[in-house]
Assembly symmetry: C2
Homo-oligomer: 279 residues x 2
């Protein structure tokens, strides 16, 4: 596989790059962003994966996420994948919440989505291997986070891969796709009507079925328009309480679903990951 450099720019002493490659998982070209802080030659740094929400590419968090200062301070590499395959031959949907920009971090089994929509395999397997090969990362020190649909991705990927991620957090995650309109539409479309098959893509169901994380940080805006109908943070609160799992779930008065909210708490999350990744 050839990794092409789309752009690189110096920022906070390190390098903010954008790279593209042909993906085996999706059968399409894929683009991702990586920030590498300034570091001693030969050093291997901890890595934090950030999964984005509906409609986003790698660029939204790269432009609005305000992660570089904290990553430079803590010496953490920050990786931002796209949210779906893209291209003229990739099927799409008219809605913003299904198809392009809305891969939901699943391996689709339903036609026509099953040909390209394998974002689970891309983020769980292919991308980490590429990062390990091309960047100065210590793959024994991986963390994962994400926003909204990407928060769902971070939680479910971490819960399904016990021990792989030393730290897991989320901003305004969809905590139970089985129980909200966004998730019901996506899982029906990509996976089909059999709800038993949905459970591995639902953080609350995974916890109910026995999956555990050693710890978890979730921030949620109280003025988030999607809180009541789509995000349902209280379901995660109930699931971790019932499971006796350590988790810090914070509700923030006045904050909405936007990058103005994410950027406010980004440095907190990076410090939290750094403490675990560098322990």
């Amino acid at each position: 596989m050839t990794l092409e450099t789309v752009s690189e720019a110096k920022a906070f002493g390190g390098c903010q790059g954008v790279y593209s490659h042909q993906s085996e998982a999706t059968g399409t070209g894929m683009t991702f962003a990586v920030y590498v802080p300034d570091h001693v030659a030969g050093a291997k740094l901890p890595v934090l994966f950030y999964l984005s929400g509906l409609t986003c590419t790698h660029a939204n968090v790269m432009e609005k996420g305000e992660y570089r200062k904290a990553c430079a301070e803590h010496g953490i590499i920050f990786v931002c994948p796209d949210t779906s395959p893209r291209g003229d031959d990739v099927p799409d949907d008219e809605g913003y919440d299904f198809g392009t920009g809305a891969g939901f971090y699943v391996n689709a089994t339903e036609a026509p989505w099953s040909q390209h929509y394998h974002m689970r395999r891309y983020v769980e397997e292919e991308l980490p291997a590429i990062i390990a090969k091309h960047f100065p990362v210590d793959m024994e020190r991986q963390g994962i986070t994400g926003h909204s649909m990407g928060g769902h991705g971070a939680l479910t990927i971490s819960l399904r891969n016990p021990g792989r991620y030393k730290s897991t957090s989320a901003f305004a995650p969809i905590v139970s796709p089985m129980n909200c309109p966004w998730g019901e539409k996506a899982l029906t479309g990509y996976i089909g009507a059999d709800k038993a098959a949905w459970r591995e893509y639902d953080a609350c169901a995974l916890i109910e079925d026995g999956a555990r994380l050693p710890d978890l940080l979730v921030d949620q805006g109280h003025a988030d328009n999607f809180l009541e109908e789509q995000l349902k943070t209280h379901l995660l609160d109930e699931a971790v309480t019932k499971a006796g799992m350590d988790a810090t779930i914070r509700l923030h008065e006045g904050y909405d679903h936007s990058y103005f909210f994410i950027s406010t708490f980004m440095a907190d999350h990076i410090a939290w990951h750094a403490a675990k990744l560098k322990a």
Copy 2:
């Protein structure tokens, strides 16, 4: 005049707003962004104006500038105007460097630009009056900064209004529009061929003609593609040296012209302005 709220979102404890109004200066609708940090009721805060570069609206720095954390810490209001009038009846040019998105902070005297392109009057007179009326600002404590074309705007507006701005800085400014292709095209188009009339829109010429600032901070990336042909930082260096004017002009190895550069040094600039605005 009615000020319409386009959007407001909580960020770093304060409020990031976008507002629009009908402008007398340009005869068009204008949109600007304002960040107001959390503050004691009734307090009046210092205000920092940020003028953007070619192709930008208020949104570029709002999304990519990473100014909110520092403004919240220092208690400074941050104002981001647009870079030109816009609208179906506003004349435009095919180039990115003239017309819409490229008002150059001048009052145009040449037809057809003279009808709407009065960004000098807008930024020097109309916008400050609107900010003073609608936001909790102390107009005795104003600072000004900007990027590229906006750096030119910040320098020339401050030099022409001695005493009004307690602090002036710029990121990668066009220091002498009379001596670069961007400036020659803009000043010829907006002001006409008489170069004597250009001098009030040229920071180096203003200094040569006797204008002074008490102090000045300029950051410039050494890997900036526009440095040699358009920005010519050395001309400002020579002008302030000849004038015996205090100025800190820093060249940064490896940094380009983008918001990755600006965001890296934004907190430095805000701290520098805060020290002067709160002295």
